[in-house]
């Protein structure tokens, strides 16, 4: 039961964080220059985007929830069940980014959920 609560935190906060970070990074544009000075400059610019802070905060919450679930379950169980993030990501993208999800994508997401359910039953 406890692992279900932590899993929900990992999935919801993790996906929310990724959506925020993705949005922040897109606003900075593609990187071409990988010299250390420009990397530092890029990181400084990234830290000025509020979406980045919100995203990193949510990912931090997801991280500690991941540690909690890892302390009670096997890695080969924990990581696959967090694939539920794909479904959370699709719902988030539909709600917050206005993406349309076609039938094929829904079929893929349903498969992910079936797979997560199967792995869930392999819990020790």
């Amino acid at each position: 039961m406890l692992e279900l609560v932590f899993l929900l935190f990992v999935v919801v906060a993790g996906t929310g964080g990724e959506l925020c970070v993705s949005r922040a990074m897109k606003s900075l544009g593609e990187m071409h220059d990988f010299r250390p000075a420009s990397l530092v400059d890029f990181i400084v610019r990234a830290l000025r985007v509020p979406w980045m802070w919100l995203g990193v905060g949510m990912m931090g919450l997801a991280f500690f929830s991941l540690l909690a679930i890892l302390s009670i379950q096997e890695v080969s169980f924990v990581v696959p069940v967090t694939a539920l993030s794909y479904t959370a990501g699709a719902i988030g993208a539909k709600l917050f980014l206005g993406e349309r999800i076609n039938r094929q994508r829904w079929i893929g997401l349903a498969l992910v959920c079936v797979g997560v359910t199967i792995v869930w039953f392999s819990k020790r």
């Binding site: 302390s71 349309r100 994508r105 797979g115 869930w120």
Partner: protein
Amino acid sequence: MPNRAKRFHLKTAFFILVIVIFAPLGNVLLGKGMKTIGAATNWNLGGLFHVLLQILTSPYIALGIVSLLIFFIAHMLVLTWADYSYVQPASSFSYLSVALLSYLILGEKISVLRCLGIAVICAGVIVVGRTHPKTTGAH
């Protein structure tokens, strides 16, 4: 320019490879560290602080975080030019590598049921990835 397109694909493939290796490796190391520390049994402030202190001083956790940081930076960089809906399915191979690494490094027994579940998850992620990557804006 085909040369430029090829370099673009190679660059993307390299970053995806880094993602697929370092994300599972990080999780395996975190798992090892947390198993050493053990589950939190005392949920008051003092108990949680004690666990937090153990987490912050564990070498496995530190290595795991370094590994995940490498993954995180590669992931952020690839997202500056590639679509999230391309990167996400491409990194689905980490579900296979995490099973392999937890078997090799942690000695976890991977049951047939768990393998089947992981295969179904990968299939699902690939089906998602084969859809058109752009669903917003004019067509």
